[in-house]
Symmetry: C2
Subunit: 750 residues, 2 copies
């Protein structure tokens, strides 16, 4: 654990400068707008250890993975969002000395991410070129103009003499990925030019052997400054404009850089990309920096109106929940159904910038509560549009129907561990379950009865082919799977996966009974198929242990050496850093909820006693070494009345990155895990449920808090729920009157 930023309700800010924390600071001060984003690296360059990262949504490259013993059904590559051309670069010289905080120690340093406005500011004063100069950098990634990034630098001469200031505003394609199996660079420069008004560079990902797309990206920067334009240039891999001037003592000069980024995801030719670049540049040129920034700030204000959570009496918690929502919304806000939410968003290279089951299992439930339904719907559309890829994935395994990928950009599986790739198939059920959740929360059946029915049918066809019938047990089974608890691999009859399989088939049959003839005709589910599915639903094997009266995670689980986590010496934790994979696999230790995940999905389908017994059993073996784990346990703990436990577990995820809890935030933020704190507050502490068509709450107030208040979107309304020692107040902020259930009592809201 390491806290490098001050606690404040709307800011992630620090006045400390420590090069040791550089990567951590870069992760924490990332900005993005779903379409593109970057780590908070310094635009002026930094020769010390750091991690430059500019990323473009949906622009990726297939990394070589075919080593050793490739087998049929293994993916051929590992997809990775690659480090994009760096358009942020602003090389600054004062009296011929280049600004570089690795060399000049800053004074009055201040780094400030304003979460309310979505603006990152950095200020400092340095002794440079024989004088003192102060700098203020601002940047934003526009939440309303997906192609736009704005930067402003103000440079003030704090010395006694004139200072010569030179600035080179550059687009630099000389970039590498840290994590790649290629030693080469990924970008070829197609064209570049620079003149006084702008610099432009178009690049393309290098050809690959895997038949996956190449991407063309055009970038155009304009620079407005009261320095003089003194020249331009291009090198093999860059294009730039030079500015210079004399800054007299006490004077401040300003430089604004606007960047427009257009990719071949939106325009299919280099000419079209260039036209779009020019059009947007012209449009933005006519606007001042404030005019570009204002709608961005307004958009963030709107987002907060729908989603803000206020916690009184715990500023750390307050900051945590806002930081989590800020970064989640930066990563995805439902503008483009071709994009999704990578576990590290635009904040680092880990997880390859690809889509995981995190989206359906953890993010959609949050968006359904804090944003317009379109956000979740677009995430559902993402999967629908990738059905063709899911067919391929199933075919690769010799199976029918659709197997959605564990990791993907385009629907094709691109992760390279077999025990995950084609065994962690619960994801197919999680995707089905998200359709159910969307329908339940929004009341909108248009998706489930059309695109959703198709997704569900094809997933069910997969399940029906993937199960086998055990003559010995007279039951349908799923052998060779991996559950969410990835500390057990290739197990037989993972309770959670079997349960989701059974549920999906049942739900699909229900949905098929409702679709119209045209959809039914298209899906062409035969009566035989339905009978077969019904047979699986009725005869699915679900592990149950009589003696302990619990659901064993899988067939072999209870034969393990069942020593609780409390008996592991603390210097051996976390296990994944201290134990071999061999010991971990054989151990009873649970990385993240597996049975608990199932209890969460179907929280109203189990008795309190069932939930208690299973929670008590599994909690003692759970090490929460997935950042997705503790928050789900917190919800179940709250549900069964373990309030203190619920709060304790909540605290593990609430400030995961702000406090660098897992000591890996320098690699990037845990974007999808950031949903956990919202889920814990709303589903856990406030007991929010949707039962039938009705919204339910049954809140408690954590002991440390004075009060908390959150917004909840539900079927066209925005509700404000406030919980304090006097009880719970629920207010209808907008929308039609509605009756909700508050701790068992009907409450009419107008």
């Amino acid at each position: 654990m390491k806290r490098t930023f001050d606690i404040a309700p709307w800011h992630v800010a620090t006045k400390e400068w420590d090069p040791q924390d550089k990567r951590l600071q870069e992760s924490m001060t990332s900005l993005a707008n779903e379409n593109l984003g970057m780590r908070g690296f310094f635009e002026e360059g930094y020769t010390g250890d750091h991690m430059q990262g500019v990323y473009l949504g949906g622009v990726w490259f297939p990394d070589k993975t075919r080593v050793g013993w490739w087998k049929n059904g293994y993916p051929k590559y590992f997809g990775k969002m690659i480090n994009a051309v760096n358009f942020m670069k602003l090389i600054i010289k004062v009296n011929d000395e280049q600004l570089d905080l690795a060399k000049q120690a800053p004074k009055n340093f201040k780094l400030d991410l304003d979460m309310k406005r979505g603006v990152l500011t950095r200020e400092f004063t340095v002794a440079i070129g024989g004088t003192d100069m102060s700098f203020q950098f601002e940047r934003f990634v526009s939440a309303v103009q997906k192609e736009l990034v704005g930067q402003r630098v103000q440079i003030k001469n704090q010395g006694q003499n004139d200072a010569k200031v030179e600035v080179t505003s550059m687009i630099d394609a000389d970039v590498y990925n840290e994590d790649a199996n290629y030693d080469e660079q990924f970008w070829n420069v197609l064209s570049k030019h620079a003149n006084g008004e702008y610099a432009e560079l178009t690049s393309e990902t290098k050809p690959n052997d895997f038949g996956t797309p190449q991407f063309t990206v055009g970038m155009q920067t304009t620079t407005k400054t009261d320095l003089d334009h003194v020249g331009d240039g291009t090198d093999a891999k860059d294009a730039y404009n030079n500015f210079a001037g004399t800054v007299v003592a006490g004077q401040t000069v300003t430089l604004e850089k606007r960047t427009v980024v257009v990719t071949s995801r939106d325009f299919d030719s280099q000419a079209a990309i260039e036209k779009r670049l020019n059009d947007l540049t012209d449009q933005f040129d006519a606007q001042s920096f404030a005019e570009l920034l204002d709608p961005h700030v307004q958009e963030w204000a709107d987002r907060w109106t729908k989603s803000d959570v206020e916690i009184n009496g715990d500023e750390g918690a307050q900051q945590g929940i806002r930081f989590n929502l800020f970064q989640l919304f930066s990563t995805y806000y439902g503008n483009d159904y071709r994009l999704n939410i990578s576990p590290k968003g635009f904040t680092g290279e880990k997880y390859g910038g690809a889509t995981y089951w995190d989206t359906e299992a953890y993010c959609i439930p949050v968006y359904l509560g804090v944003a317009n339904p379109e956000v979740a719907r677009n995430l559902l559309m993402y999967r629908y549009k990738q059905l063709d890829g899911a067919f391929v994935n199933a075919q690769e395994q010799g199976l029918k129907g659709a197997l959605f990928p564990m990791v993907t950009f385009n629907g094709i599986e691109c992760h390279n561990e077999w025990e995950i790739t084609f065994e962690e198939i619960h994801r197919n059920g999680d995707i089905a379950f998200a359709i159910y959740l969307y329908t339940k929360y929004t009341g909108d059946k248009s998706y489930v009865l059309n695109e959703g029915a198709e997704v569900l049918t094809e997933i069910s066809r997969f399940w029906a082919d993937r199960v086998h019938y055990s003559q010995r047990q007279n039951k349908y089974m799923l052998h060779c799977v991996t559950g969410p608890d990835e500390y057990d691999n290739n197990v037989n009859n993972d309770w959670y996966t079997n349960l989701l399989c059974q549920w999906t088939l049942k739900y699909t049959l229900e949905v098929l009974a409702e679709v119209d003839d045209q959809v039914a005709k298209k899906l062409d589910v035969t009566e035989d198929e339905k009978r077969h599915w019904k047979g699986i639903v009725d005869n699915m094997y679900l592990p149950y242990d009589k003696q302990k009266d619990i659901f064993p995670e899988n067939d072999g689980f209870l034969d393990k050496d069942l020593k609780p986590v409390s008996e592991i010496p603390s210097d051996q934790l976390p296990l994944n850093q201290n134990w071999s994979w061999d010991k971990i696999l054989r151990s009873p230790y649970v990385k993240q909820g597996d049975v608990i995940q199932g209890l969460w999905d179907f929280i109203d389908d189990f008795t309190k006693d069932e939930k208690k017994r299973n929670f008590d059993f599994y909690e003692q073996f759970t090490v929460h070494e997935s950042s997705l784990s503790a928050s789900v346990y917190s919800i179940i703990a709250a549900d069964i009345g373990y309030e203190d436990k619920a709060v304790e577990l909540y605290e593990r995820s609430a400030r995961l990155d702000l406090d660098n809890y897992n000591n890996d935030t320098s690699d990037g933020l845990h974007i999808t895990s950031m949903t956990g704190s919202w889920l814990d507050i709303v589903q856990g502490f406030a007991g929010m449920r949707v039962r039938g068509d009705q919204l339910h709450f049954a809140p408690f107030l954590p002991k440390k808090w004075d009060s908390y208040q959150f917004r909840q979107t539900f079927r066209g309304r925005i509700l404000k729920i406030r919980v304090d020692p006097d009880g719970t107040k629920i207010e209808l902020v907008s929308g039609d009157p509605i009756t909700i259930d508050l701790a068992g009592k009907q409450l009419e809201l107008k």
Copy 2:
């Protein structure tokens, strides 16, 4: 299946030339002498598709494997025997046209591997340079001088006019591996020179990031010819001598090339390598080609005296068994305990030229029957000398004692599939079992009571730490293992592995009771340890199914969808080429014997009925997609009286490579599987067993055969056993009188 060579008792020869079969021919005509070897590629070069391969025993390179999701305990690299510098090269020009069978179609082509003498000959006539020339190439890899390779070319002018013939005798370091994760070359040239008498080139493997050894290799060639020496040269990566002359019509010119290869495995400085090169070159220079060849041929004659198997009435079988023994002996003949038997020997790049459990499980039982005990003893010493590496492998998994590697050069595990690397731990038991076999066959206890006791103790320490106690079952268990049947991965309680674990602990306790005080003191096995081992022996869980009265391969096996192989459409076989790994893992299909392997090891410990029931059960699910599989089934079939089945199964391995049965011999020969046919004949058909101190036979004669006859080494004797329709005749070829058991009757041999 494809048979490209004629059937003959002592020759693998063909008069057919088909470029399609080039790689296959190269594999089949490989030569080696344990220390070095090469595929039968053409020394004059060949521009068509082929696979050049020269390999040096124990010279390897760590291939990069760290992609994706590396976890604690995973090996950091994959060791590979690399393609060595090509010292065979003889560029030949006739009237300025270069000889290249990809361009000049040969007439009167003949390729002949003489297995009796260990010599490869190739003859043909081509139209080249406006004339007809015939060529005869000979080569041998000396079985008595490990550093020596001899080549001879005879070139005859079959035309009417004089022909200008030029030959460049070269050492060429410009070589690549086909299978490598590096795009670069592995060899850096350290020095090179050439003059009229010889060419020399010293090279070193490039530095690697893994802390594994670099190898230096010196090569020196001398050329004797009746052509004129016309010049020498070196390029960046080669050294060569040029010869030329006019060959008049009808004249034959001869060129002999001798190569000496010395590596840093034997000499620790470049200077020492060069001295050795010069000394050997001088020594061989004083000898004629015949003088170099003769002792090599004599050595092969000696080998055949101990090992030859004669089969009358089936020439294909006759050729098969000799080819198998020839290639096995070429790969290893016990001269160097630092070397071992790679599954593909010196015949290709697959399996990386490394050591597998094949050595102990399949090769040692053969060498014990057909060679001096020193051969098997050196293979046991190989493991003893690598104990330090085995300690590291266990420590990497957080376990005590020794875990011998699945794949290795130096004792350190270098395979990169976790489900194999640290799960296929039965190998530890197989290594222990080989010590038992050696002792039983040879009567020599000097190994088991010294080095062997140490190996057994450390293996037992590993087992005792690797098991866990299941409170639920009150039994010791092994979870998360992979048995020999690699079509099931990461299973719980693999019957074979559990059995070997139990047996090893029991045997170690027996051995420890016999060791002298000094050894006991060194091993320092405490009474507590012994008690713990005894406890495991007494309470090991061994899967047994009451209903079917068989040993289930592992815990989940009988829950599978138990359809026999006969129900799989034939176009889906072999499964590993047609099914996804997902389907294979979930299926009941057995790649190679697992329970059957255990029945073989402990063949006298199970009743005939037990063996029958288990054979009948598993045979229906076994696809024999390991080349090691069918031969073991054949032995069990013979044991339980299924004679026809035994012969049928024998036939699958007897000519595996000669008939390209698995359609992959072009990659190299299945060296370790070649042991199968000998085991089937001797242990299967002839029922050879060692019981107590006595040798037993209980032969039958396969219906198709007129008779068979083999040699058997046993405790200082060589026996000749002949089986024909009149019965079995056993003759003592050499050694002291001995009483053996023939089908239950005591037979005194003098």
